[in-house]
């Protein structure tokens, strides 16, 4: 069963990566990043479940990670709002090489 969750994590990782690369909308990029993070956490916890006996250290790591992710997401969202007020658009202009 844990192998199933490991593979599920891999599938979600790939989907989130695709979204992160192809979506121009910043809110969607942020959500894709969050989903990517969730998939990494799923991977860790599935590993913890595989171990005998159950290994609580990945659980603690994921708890730490969840809090860190909320903090970064909050910053990202505020940054996104500031950008929207400035440019009126939810997308980034491509990196200018000037």
């Amino acid at each position: 069963m844990t192998a199933y969750y490991l593979i599920l994590a891999g599938v979600i990782l790939a989907m989130a990566f695709h979204g992160l690369m192809t979506r121009a909308n910043l809110l969607r990029k942020l959500m894709a990043l969050n989903i990517f993070t969730s998939a990494v956490f799923l991977f860790l916890v599935a590993l913890a479940r595989m171990a005998e006996p159950l290994d609580p250290i990945p659980h603690a790591m994921v708890l730490t990670g969840i809090v860190v992710t909320v903090s970064t997401t909050a910053v990202g969202l505020v940054l996104l709002l500031k950008l929207y007020r400035r440019t009126g658009s939810l997308t980034l202009q491509s990196a200018d090489d000037d």
Partner: protein
């Protein structure tokens, strides 16, 4: 039960797909929140109730609230706008970078799936069980977070405080927030629920010692309570003095944690090395201050800017 896992996985995949390609942002955010809730179910299936609690409260709940408040601050048209089918970037630099990523990720994912076969997952569960009695708490996750790997947790609280500092550096929000609708029902409900919230927060904090819970879910419940109070229009007036106290409440969790570690060091035990008979008490003190601070920090993140008492 295998069927249950299969359905759960399928739903997760469908929700990710919807979140990333449904036509409007509003629908995408809804799918994202549903994804978070189902992840909480997945955590329970993987025997990680601590994470399920944190995911439901922080990962899905608070992130969802953050996303919604962001959507609310965008104009209606933007939230309902369908995906524009244009490319993300242009120019040779972009295509080089994108191509590099695609190729490497494709190769990597093949290797990744193959490497899953090799994982043995020895884990530290057994080793941890032996030392758990020395940690001062009974819940192994709390023991890891606040004793065995407490340095990570100190730095994690620092990340939260830093996020508040960054959000504040990006601008101020007018205060008190104006309410468009008068919603007597919400006010009544909040009046009824606030004590319940406080009770739940306290019980989560207390339970953390021996069962899933602890400072982070408890802080998230506190933050939820204060966000509800805000939504019901129950804002306090902000004066310089209130800001002074707010700053100290925000910083308290980190300060108590670091200063506790340092005083232990100067007492001769070593940085964050709890003497065994005091470990439980010290962890409780640290957790209480961290819980209150985390509640305040999560609320500050939700507000999304430094409260400005000149604007109110």
């Amino acid at each position: 039960m295998v069927l249950f896992d299969l359905i759960l996985g399928l739903l997760l995949v469908v929700l990710v797909q919807k979140c990333l390609s449904v036509t409007d942002l509003f629908g995408a955010v809804i799918s994202f929140m549903a994804f978070g809730l189902l992840m909480a179910v997945a955590w329970v299936r993987l025997e990680a109730p601590d994470i399920a609690l944190a995911e439901a409260a922080i990962g899905s709940g608070l992130t969802g609230a953050l996303l919604f408040s962001t959507l609310g601050r965008l104009p209606h048209s933007e939230a309902r706008q369908p995906i524009a089918s244009r490319t993300v970037g242009s120019g040779p630099g972009y295509w080089l970078a994108a191509g590099f990523w695609w190729v490497s990720i494709m190769l990597l994912s093949v290797a990744f799936f193959l490497s899953l076969l090799e994982l043995q997952a020895p884990g530290l569960g057994g080793y941890l069980q032996e030392r758990l009695s020395e940690s001062g708490v009974l819940n192994p996750v709390t023991a890891v977070l606040l004793n065995f790997r407490s340095l990570d947790t100190v730095m994690e609280i620092a990340v939260l405080l830093l996020a508040v500092a960054v959000v504040w550096s990006l601008g101020t929000v007018g205060w008190p927030a104006k309410q468009k609708l008068s919603l007597p029902l919400l006010v009544g409900l909040v009046r009824l629920l606030t004590p319940v919230f406080l009770l739940v927060a306290f019980s989560l904090l207390w339970r953390g010692n021996h069962a899933p819970g602890g400072a982070f879910p408890s802080g998230a419940v506190l933050a939820a309570a204060s966000i509800l109070l805000l939504l019901a229009g129950k804002t306090i007036r902000i004066y310089p003095l209130t800001m002074f106290w707010l700053r100290w409440v925000l910083a308290a969790g980190l300060l108590v944690f670091v200063l506790a570690g340092m005083s232990l060091m100067f007492a001769g035990y070593g940085f964050l090395v709890y003497p065994e008979q005091w470990a439980g008490t010290m962890i409780l003190i640290i957790e209480v201050s961290a819980g209150v601070s985390i509640g305040a920090m999560l609320m500050a993140l939700y507000i999304g800017g430094e409260p400005d008492f000149h604007a109110g």
